[in-house]
């Protein structure tokens, strides 16, 4: 049955249907056709085709049996490396079906694993190398420990270009009978930030309101997806009210399930809309950068963000 979720419905199922990443596709296709693939490390931003390519590989390799020979795990969802190992073990225990002598495991967001967990993963990869191939997907290859990198063939996925995204938009518009003018295409591209999945979600979300898509509609949908009330948090802080600012901060983080890293990104952007002197903007940005660094280094983003708010409070007083 065809999916009614467009990111699925329009997910390419053959190498030739993929937009962008031409060089990668050429090489991966050749390897797949030889029926013998190495371990892959797919690095690149979200929505550039990493999962899609993994799915095409297994569909090409195993044809109609692909589901039995393919295990998909998400490192940031599974609780701990033990669970990952347990699942891999259970999956790898039985032999593959069909003519290909191995099965394929796709581990998404592998950079969510700590270095220790990656060591454990490395051993797991070795233990099952005879019967399994791994495809690891990460945003940054630098977050993957060297021993794993050295066991994989690394492909760097580039952010999709405007012409690629445009092709996808036009295809969807045609199939789904939508009218999308050039302005809307620009708006969709801007809103997608080069993330194809996000772009398709935007289209479907907008189309659920009207098949006549215009840029106004798109920006309404987009603003509903941005962390709200960041400005309120900063206004409270700059006016000296630390308590209210942090209360609002926790509220936003919890209600909208936003990570500390997304909050800090939004703060960094919001600084440029604040009615303060250029000098202060630079100072606040510097603080924000330091906090982003500490969020990565520390264990509790909320403590780090409180510390940032405290700096904003102080800066606001000197204003």
């Amino acid at each position: 049955m065809e999916s009614e979720i467009w990111t699925e419905k329009f997910r390419p199922s053959r190498f030739s249907d993929v937009v962008g990443q031409e060089e990668i596709i050429k090489r991966v296709e050749a390897l797949t056709n030889s029926l013998n693939i190495p371990h892959f490390l797919f690095a690149g931003p979200a929505g550039t085709g990493k999962s899609t390519l993994a799915l095409i590989i297994v569909k090409e390799l195993f044809k109609e049996n692909w589901k039995e020979n393919y295990l998909e795990l998400n490192a940031s969802d599974e609780r701990g490396i033990q669970i990952v190992r347990e699942k891999v073990k259970n999956f790898a225990r039985t032999k593959s079906l069909g003519s290909v002598p191995f099965k394929v495991i796709f581990l998404d967001e592998a950079d969510a694993l700590t270095p220790e967990a990656q060591q454990a993963l490395r051993r797991t990869m070795e233990n099952y190398s005879a019967t399994c191939r791994f495809i690891l997907s990460v945003n940054y290859s630098s977050k993957v420990i060297d021993p794993i990198q050295s066991r994989c063939v690394l492909f760097r996925f580039k952010i999709l270009e405007k012409k690629d995204i445009e092709r996808v938009i036009k295809k969807i518009a045609e199939t789904e009978n939508l009218t999308i003018d050039q302005n809307s295409i620009e708006a969709l591209y801007e809103g997608s930030e080069g993330d194809c999945r996000r772009c398709i979600n935007l289209i479907q979300s907008t189309a659920s309101i009207s098949p006549d898509i215009n840029s106004e509609l798109i920006s309404t949908i987009l603003s509903s997806s941005k962390p709200k009330d960041i400005k309120i948090i900063l206004d409270y802080a700059l006016s000296g009210d630390f308590q209210k600012s942090r209360e609002k901060l926790l509220d936003v983080m919890l209600k909208e399930s936003i990570s500390g890293e997304d909050i800090i990104k939004a703060i960094q952007k919001e600084i440029w809309n604040l009615p303060v002197e250029p000098e202060l903007k630079v100072k606040l940005t510097e603080k924000t950068g330091e906090t982003e660094f500490r969020i990565v280094e520390g264990s509790d983003p909320f403590i780090q963000l409180q510390s940032l708010i405290a700096s904003f409070v102080l800066a606001g007083i000197g204003k």
């Binding site: 049955m1 999916s3 009614e4 979720i5 467009w6 990111t7 699925e8 979200a46 999962s51 799915l55 998909e72 998400n74 940031s76 969802d77 033990q82 347990e86 998404d108 967001e109 700590t114 270095p115 220790e116 999945r197 996000r198 979600n201 935007l202 479907q204 979300s205 907008t206 659920s208 309101i209 949908i221 509903s224 997806s225 630390f242 308590q243 942090r246 926790l250 919890l254 209600k255 909208e256 399930s257 936003i258 990570s259 997304d262 906090t291 500490r294 280094e297 520390g298 264990s299 509790d300 909320f302 403590i303 780090q304 409180q306 510390s307 405290a310 700096s311 409070v313 102080l314 007083i317």
Partner: protein, 396 residues
Amino acid sequence: MQWTEKHRPKSLHEIKDQDEAILKIKNFIGTFYLGKLTKTPRKALVLHGPPGIGKTTLAHVIAKEENLEIFELNASDLRNKLKLKEILRPAIEQKSLIRKGKIILVDEVDGISAVDRGGLMELLSLITLTNYPIIITANNIWAPKLSGLRKKSELVRLKEINYNSIKDVMINVLRKENNFINNNFLTKIAINAKGDLRSAINDLQTASITKDPSSNLVDERNKETDIFNALKLVFKGKPTNETLSIYDSVKMPIDEIILWVEENIPAEYQRRELKRAYDLLSKVDIFRKRIYRQQYWRFLVYENILLSYGVSSSKKDVKPGFTSYKKPTRILKIWMNNQKTFKKKSIAKKYARKVHVGEKRIMSEFPIIRNILKNPEVRRELRLSDEEINYLDKPI
């Protein structure tokens, strides 16, 4: 009589939140008794999860429904090898007289000490030999000493009981006992229980006897006096060498003390002091992560110094007067929010699996996806439950 015993569920429909586990257990027993033991079937199943969520109860109720006799062992029986042999061997080898099937229940396997490996080894060999399915309960199946057991058994994790379910059960018990306790206090008990239904029922019984809702929170209070005093000295007083050991008398893990300090800094400090204190707290948090990452425990010294002397020295002068410090509320807020976003999470999970993306990412993209989830065909495709659909149809 203990209410936890008196009101222990006797049939499956009384058991809350564990449908998935029930199915797995029934399957396990079913395939065991089918006799189609061609390959290497699992002869033992481990029910694991935190205390008070119904591991033992579940085993008993299922045995009853499947009309199986239960043969129960607890940690003390397992403590020595000889005794275990003595008790378990006949049970395994003998066919039951009235030809009723049997389940062997080994309760709380965590209780076997790591030193006495004999008990564990014996249990493992019994798993190989048994003619009857063995069900084992454990709190922490990931303990290193249980690695052998893990390999030989099917693992089924039981979930913490949802806060609303705990409350429902408590209301039911009170009705049967012809007792009454005000709703606010019930809520408090349910939240305090953090998913442990047994402790909630115990608290409920205590409260019904004493009629004083606060009496069972005495322990909690003692702990609080310690931390209040420590905070007072840190925030109000001059830092001295005694400040360094100020948290020693507080019977709380350092992570919890961090939360208390975090909550109360703004009650005492303003402006530059506030900023300095939070900056130190931020560094405490970084040391904490480094300890965790590198298992280098000496960093704890720095955590402690910054959190006591450091925070204390963030002010210019001593702070006179009385300040009422607050209990940290963040963890409770997070927990209550999780209860609220429960439906959203289960929807995100179904959606995430369908579109090959992580749940966390879907959670953060929810505002965009919400519109897509209005489509009835998408709802059918994801097999959303009525409750999940209700959640989506509610105005935001």
